[in-house]
């Protein structure tokens, strides 16, 4: 992203790609004469995240958001591209040299019920990074630090004696956050940290995350499909579709004037109290199978603006006025101006795409 060139970004993804091999075993391929099959979960992602800011990745289920999270923290190895963290390319790093960076990059997980080992006491869960990284030298010091972390996330130091099942979802997520910040990381990858929580609890956890960001100077890669949450949290937004970034830019720009047809479609799905009984544009179709993506622009089967060029040639990301980048032929050619566009799919359903563009 070109918007934060004043200072070197803390994290930069450069052409990051991940291909999963889904081929059947060799024997089956020989006997059943099946070919190799692969899935491009992430395809040439370019993202810069400035220090102390929040970059949000949004998109539908299955678009590769979580794969990006796992690539960045090193749970998956990248197939191509670079992940630069504070000047060092993590993808080239040998496992032994990764140790120092593990401490600086941590993750908050989606499911607070699966991310805490049910057989471990909370104090041991939070102390695991402390022990593994050798941060505390004595039992007493470790105890004090665990107590401090628990209080930092709004729990009581005595809660350390309990087991995870004695806590609610929101409290568990706080424990998860306490564990993630225990090694004093600079960069936190948050993979849908609130999607498993009640709305009322969501806001508490999000406020906590924002407070911690101010207090500890954290940088977030925030992955979500909830646009309201993203609006609240993020400085920059990237919209993913089928493994590719279709639009990225400053959050206020993306929310006020989305340009890519897919982004507009997403924004249109956000309920708005002022909308009343407006005739809402239906979201047509669903994400295509990523194993056999459509030729050309991957959004073309669902895009009301698609023409023959879109069906043949994949668009490249281009800088736009207003500081965002958009990968769309229609935007580039200025075909996206009409207020309403007749839909080519569906039974003459009409799609309003111009909300907010005025």
């Amino acid at each position: 992203m070109s918007t934060a060139t004043e200072q070197k970004p803390l994290v930069a993804l450069d052409g990051l790609s991940k291909t999963f091999d889904l081929s059947p075993p060799l024997l089956n391929r020989l006997i059943e004469r099946k070919g190799r099959r692969s899935l491009r979960a992430v395809d040439g992602l370019n993202i810069d995240i400035p220090r102390g800011k929040t970059f949000a990745l949004v998109g539908e289920s299955g678009c590769g958001k979580s794969t990006v999270a796992k690539l960045v923290v090193g749970l998956h190895g990248a197939s191509a591209g670079k992940i630069t963290f504070d000047g060092t390319d993590l993808t080239k790093l040998a496992a032994a040299d990764r140790g120092a960076f593990r401490k600086r990059i941590q993750m908050i997980f989606q499911d607070p019920y699966a991310s805490l080992n049910p057989r471990w006491r909370v104090r041991d869960i939070i102390a695991e990074p402390l022990r593994s990284f050798g941060i505390t030298s004595s039992k007493a010091e470790e105890r004090a630090e665990v107590g401090r972390l628990l209080e930092l996330v709004g729990l009581s130091a005595r809660d350390g004696e309990k087991f995870p099942h004695e806590f609610s979802g929101g409290q568990r997520q706080r424990i998860s956050i306490a564990r993630a910040i225990s090694s004093k990381p600079e960069f936190l990858v948050c993979d849908e940290p609130t999607s498993a929580l009640d709305v009322s609890v969501q806001s508490q956890v999000l406020n906590l995350m924002r407070d911690l960001q101010d207090e500890l100077g954290l940088t977030y890669l925030f992955i979500s499909h909830d646009l309201a949450v993203v609006d609240f949290m993020s400085d920059y937004v990237g919209v993913m579709y089928l493994g590719r970034l279709v639009e990225a830019g400053p959050a206020e720009r993306i929310f006020s004037a989305p340009e890519h047809p897919y982004t507009r479609l997403l924004m249109d799905t956000v309920p708005d109290i002022t909308m009343g009984r407006r005739n809402r544009a239906p979201v047509i179709g669903e994400v295509p199978n990523p194993i056999t993506p459509p030729p050309g622009c991957s959004f073309n089967p669902r895009c009301p603006l698609a023409n023959d060029r879109c069906r043949a040639q994949a668009p490249e990301a281009r800088k736009r006025a207003g500081g965002s980048i958009v990968a769309c032929h229609a935007v580039e050619e200025g075909r996206d101006t009409p207020e309403t566009v007749a839909c080519e799919t569906g039974e003459g359903a009409r799609m309003q795409l111009a909300r907010g563009a005025a």
Partner: protein
């Protein structure tokens, strides 16, 4: 009770647990537990509570041979359950015999459990070629009947060892044969649970802080896969005792000089039709009671640990 959280003692936690509730509300389970406890205690304490040492030849007298139990006509109050053809006290022989049976059962279950758990954890966690290798071995093991493999193993060992070593090696051969045939169950169960746990987020969290695979396997995954293993272990204890009895009954297990329950049954079986029924009936009843009780305990554990039946 105050709302404030207070640290519970372990004993109180056990008494309040679902497991214990299921236990004390089922008289069958309590009965099974008492029977198991009595037999295990009697076996462990055999040298102190047995009225005779059945293997001390100097104390045996052929005058005492084939005496019926005390309550039958011609019974001798010295011999509670009668004597066999050598004048050995059947009650004492059962105590010592249960000792051997239980020892074989516990030791082979422990070995099979350790081997099965380690192979299951490694297979499930690393997958790929390692998994394929171990699981094909497991498939092969499963395609043979347990008794057949046990017979084969003891046959090979007997063929390889000189005759005078057979009796002393019998215990080891039995444990080995039972272990070899029963580890597969543990390995498969642990493997499938491990595959589920491996992709849970707490495992990712541990990987992210740089814990090594084996540290993760034993500190994180193992405690979460132990439930089903304990159930299998309990039921397999009964099975191991039965396999041991079967092998001994077939003559490839414990020798008559150091008999297990199975050996006692085999020896006694030869006298059954001459009217000396007590030599075979009492060891058989002990075996049935023990296996049934342990099996019932296993059933209780399985139901109590099964979240679907809660």
């Amino acid at each position: 009770m105050s709302l404030e959280a207070f640290p519970q003692s372990r004993l109180a936690a056990i008494i309040e647990s679902d497991l214990f509730y299921k236990f004390r509300t089922s008289w069958i389970t309590v009965g099974a537990f008492v029977v198991t406890l009595v037999i295990v205690l009697a076996a462990v304490l055999a040298p102190w509570i047995a009225p005779h040492d059945p293997f001390d030849v100097s104390t045996l007298s052929l005058w005492d041979s084939e005496l019926p139990p005390v309550w039958a006509e011609g019974g001798d109050p010295r011999f509670l359950l009668g004597t066999d053809n050598q004048g050995r006290d059947v009650f004492s022989a059962i105590l010592y015999g249960s000792r051997i049976s239980l020892a074989v059962g516990f030791v082979s279950v422990a070995f099979a459990m350790v081997i099965g758990i380690v192979i299951g954890l490694v297979s499930g966690y690393f997958g790929g070629a390692i998994d394929a290798f171990f699981m094909r071995i497991a498939d092969v093991m499963l395609s043979f009947p347990t008794i057949l493999v046990a017979l084969l193993v003891s046959g090979i060992v007997r063929g390889a060892l000189p005759r005078e070593m057979h009796d002393s090696a019998a215990l080891i051969v039995l444990v080995f044969a039972i272990t070899v045939t029963t580890w597969v169950q543990y390995a498969r169960t642990v493997r499938s649970s491990t595959m589920v746990e491996r992709s849970r987020e707490y495992v990712y969290a541990a990987q992210l802080v740089g814990r090594k695979p084996f540290a993760i396997l034993f500190s994180h995954i193992l405690p979460n896969v132990m439930g089903p293993v304990l159930v299998i272990a309990t039921i397999n204890l009964a099975m191991a005792i039965l396999i041991e009895a079967t092998l001994s009954f077939l003559g490839v297990g414990m020798p008559p000089t150091n008999p297990s329950l199975g050996t006692l049954i085999r020896v006694g079986n030869e006298y059954l039709f001459s009217g000396v029924w007590w030599v075979v009936i009492f060891p058989s009843l002990t075996l049935v009671a023990l296996v049934l009780a342990v099996n019932l305990l296993g059933d209780w554990l399985r139901d109590a640990l099964n979240p679907k039946l809660r």
